[in-house]
């Protein structure tokens, strides 16, 4: 599988993009709407004009037309061929390559099996559910074994459950096929779960490239922080392994239980959106629930940000405006915090950035 190298790519939105996608890597392009994510995919696919240089495995491909670039592209709206049934949709690229009918049947069968959609073979797109369409579109993109896969928000518009299941399936599939993949999303959780590395794109510029951990623990500048949220990062003074993948850490006078498999960690982090604020003590066991006092309230455009002091720590929490209004919180008020176990991230190695 090739490595994709972009050198100084610029056009109407992209601004001097330098990026190398490694062989077999799943790279996630993360950024708000209008950041240029789709444009970057279109540039690689050859749909938009640009200045700069794109190469696959060191071979310059600027002059090569889309249809010869060997790319599988999953569009946001999927763009299944409505007049062709599932089998014909998937076999489209194989027919163009004049693959023999026997081979087409076996290859499509293989893909239908891989996606577990054999029963849909003869249906037309109008008779498929959202998740099924997604799978058919992916199978079609993979049919002629492209070396590069571009996915444009493939899970947008699906219900949460389907989206979660497909996310896992995509991820496993990408690992299995080892296909160099660029995955566009504006969903941070999706990015963190899927990515080998994340690229934060903002107004056509790359603001940060790093592993999900690097991005999350060490957002490089204001823009990244604004987008992914400046996390609460606590330095751990003392660790106690609980077993079953859990660890108990002391940070600034409170003890927090966190998911972790090793025996020591240096820091834990939790995003402000995942610090839950309550007026009354939340029910449940006395784990990761703390008393705190509001020290500052900062209304922002989409959310209200709270700074809450818990012993020697200051937690940042973010609530949607309506929720904050309903709770009618004031500076100096005592509140309860709940940190949900699954959103606590742990770090035990020194970061490079």
């Amino acid at each position: 599988m090739p490595e994709i190298a972009l050198k100084g790519i610029s056009n109407f939105i992209l601004n001097n993009i330098h990026l190398t996608v490694r062989d077999r890597e799943l790279l996630v392009l993360l950024g708000p709407n209008g950041a240029g994510k789709t444009t970057l995919l279109n540039t690689i696919a050859g749909f938009t004009t640009y200045n700069g240089l794109i190469s696959f495995n060191g071979n310059k491909i600027n002059a090569i037309p889309t249809r010869k670039r060997g790319i599988g592209y999953l569009f946001q709206d999927l763009a299944l061929f409505p007049h062709l049934d599932v089998f014909t949709n998937i076999s489209f690229s194989l027919k163009i390559k004049k693959v023999s009918q026997n081979k087409i049947i076996s290859r499509v069968g293989e893909l239908l099996g891989l996606m577990r959609i054999e029963h849909l073979k003869n249906r037309y797109p109008k008779d498929l559910s959202g998740g099924e369409r997604q799978k058919v579109a992916l199978a079609r993109a993979l049919a002629s074994s492209p070396e590069i896969l571009l996915l444009d928000e493939p899970l947008a518009g699906l219900d949460l459950r389907t989206s979660k299941n497909l996310r896992i399936e995509f991820h496993n599939l990408q690992r299995k096929l080892g296909i160099t993949t660029i995955y566009v999303t504006h969903d941070q959780n999706e990015a963190e779960e899927m990515a080998d590395r994340i690229v934060i794109l903002y107004n056509g510029k790359i603001e940060q490239i790093g592993t999900p951990y690097e991005i999350f623990f060490a957002p490089m500048n204001e823009k990244v922080m604004n987008f992914i949220g400046e996390p609460n990062i606590l330095t751990c003074e003392y660790c106690n392994v609980l077993g079953n993948g859990l660890i108990k850490v002391e940070c600034g006078g409170i003890s927090i239980t966190a998911p972790h498999d090793g025996d020591s960690i240096r820091k834990i982090a939790i995003a402000p959106a995942h610090v839950h604020v309550y007026k009354d003590r939340p029910p449940g066991p006395d784990i990761n629930r703390f008393n705190g006092k509001i020290v500052e309230i900062i209304p922002l455009s989409f959310i209200v940000r709270f700074k809450i002091k818990v012993k020697r720590n200051i937690f940042i929490a973010e609530l949607p405006h309506e929720r904050a209004k309903d709770m009618n919180l004031k500076v100096g008020e005592k509140v309860f915090l709940l940190l949900k176990l699954r959103w606590i991230k742990t770090l035990n190695e020194r970061l490079l950035t």
Binding site: I71, F75, P82, S93, P125, A143, S144
Partner: protein, 254 residues
């Protein structure tokens, strides 16, 4: 009960027609409308239809009209389809032809009659040329629209899957434009009959339209009604035929 109602459904659409014909027959028989010749009864019309059929007059004129419609419609549609495909496919061709076609399109088909009469004279070419013009434009524009309104992402996806431009045209754009193309064909199939009658009434001495005019000068209202009924049935069956074809071609995926 519900099932029985369903079985009766065809009856419900026939019933009003039957009542209409019945009322017509009774009203004229009872002489409620003065002047027997100005409003013949339904049975008189049917009898006249039979007479015209057996004498061969109706068949001859009908075949003349049918032949003109078919030739004009066929050639006009093929030309509209072909140029429409080229214009929908390639922007450069569209840009080149669009101004001239959009100037010619608003002229009603019959508006061409005087100039075509002078150019071609009164003969078989004249009505066929009129029908050609009347079929060409709607098919042209519907074909262009059909191709242009195909989701661009579908075209792009086909490109990433390795399809050449020609392949995309043949396997993606044309099949997806079928509903639009058939809308054009269907509208025109009916329109062609309306236009041919008008042309024959004004300028050509044979065909259903000419028969209409002759009937008028002889005050034969029964013949006029026969002609109008034939016209109505032909318009309808041509339109239904294309509706049926379209359904057959797109029912599975639309």
């Amino acid at each position: 009960m519900k099932n029985r109602l369903k079985q009766l459904k065809p009856l419900w659409s026939i019933l009003p027609v039957a009542i209409f014909l019945g009322v017509w027959e009774i009203v004229t028989r009872l002489g409620l409308i003065p002047g027997k010749y100005f409003f013949p009864s339904f049975s008189t019309v049917i009898r006249e239809f039979y007479t015209l059929m057996s004498s061969g007059i109706l068949v001859d004129n009908f075949l003349k009209s049918l032949q003109r419609v078919l030739i004009g419609f066929f050639t006009g549609s093929i030309a509209g389809l072909f140029i429409g495909i080229m214009m929908g496919w390639k922007d450069s061709i569209n840009n080149a032809f669009h101004p001239i076609f959009s100037l010619l399109y608003p002229i009603p088909a019959l508006g061409w009659l005087p100039i075509l009469m002078l150019w071609f004279g009164i003969g078989e070419i004249l009505p066929i040329a009129i029908i050609f013009i009347c079929s060409f434009f709607p098919v042209l524009y519907n074909t262009i629209t059909g191709i242009k309104t195909v989701n661009r992402d579908i075209v792009k996806v086909a490109e990433t899957l390795g399809a050449s431009n020609l392949k995309i045209l043949l396997t993606i754009l044309l099949p997806l434009a079928i509903p639009n193309i058939f809308t054009g064909l269907r509208l025109e199939a009916g329109m062609a009959w309306r236009v041919i009658i008008a042309a024959e009434m004004v300028a050509i001495p044979t065909g259903i339209g000419a028969l209409l005019m002759r009937a008028e000068s002889l005050l034969r209202i029964d013949i006029i009604i026969v002609c109008l009924m034939i016209l109505s049935v032909m318009c309808l069956s041509f339109e239904k035929f294309f509706l049926f074809l379209e359904k057959r071609l797109t029912d599975k995926w639309k």
